[in-house]
């Protein structure tokens, strides 16, 4: 599962144009990392595409930190299996 953590971190880093090493797992996207709502949607879409899962848009407001995002992604990955 460690791989998924690193992959999602990398994917988010690319979208928000920061170095992966700069992203604290519990840093808040909007307040601390300057992420806007459109980037959050891009993150959701990128995760869906990478792992071929569907995350309902109701979950989007829960994408508030890297750790929270990884947790949600893993939920849907587990459902898939």
């Amino acid at each position: 599962m460690q791989d998924i953590d690193a992959e999602i971190k990398e994917l988010i880093a690319t979208i928000i144009e920061k170095d992966a090493s700069q992203i604290d797992p519990d840093a808040r996207f909007i307040e601390d990392l300057g992420v806007d709502s459109m980037m959050a949607l891009e993150i959701l879409a990128a995760i869906e595409k990478k792992y071929k899962i569907v995350i309902p848009e109701e979950r989007l407001p829960e994408f508030i930190t890297l750790n929270a995002t990884i947790k949600i992604a893993k939920e849907y990955l587990a459902d898939k299996k």
Partner: protein, 145 residues
Amino acid sequence: MMSSLNIEEIYKILPQRFPFVMIDRVTELEPRKKVVALKNVSYNEEFFAGHFPNNPVMPGVLIIEAMAQASIILFCGGKDACADKKLIYYLGAVKTRFMHPVVPGDQLIITVEPLKIISRAAIVKAKVQVLDKEVASAEISLVAK
């Protein structure tokens, strides 16, 4: 279900008005799945007077605008789906590539397909062709409010 839209039907969907309507016709409309739209580029377009004198080239930002307007039609879904909502659309992000200049006489064939659509926003993939040649492509994020 596939259908097409004439300019009157396009006016019901797009909030833009003259001289900023960058779509003349929609030839294919699969609600929220695919839109193919046309924009005829005439030498009479006012921007050609200054962009550039003696060297008329359609400004890239207007090609982006054409792709964005086609994206609105894709986002809206059906013919009357957005008619009374009075939504305003904002571009969130655009990643564009321009391959060839667009000149008077060209007909832009704009194809847009969703990468992700939710109730208030969309990320779409767009490409613009003149005849069979791809002249521009983009990934566009838009928000409706």
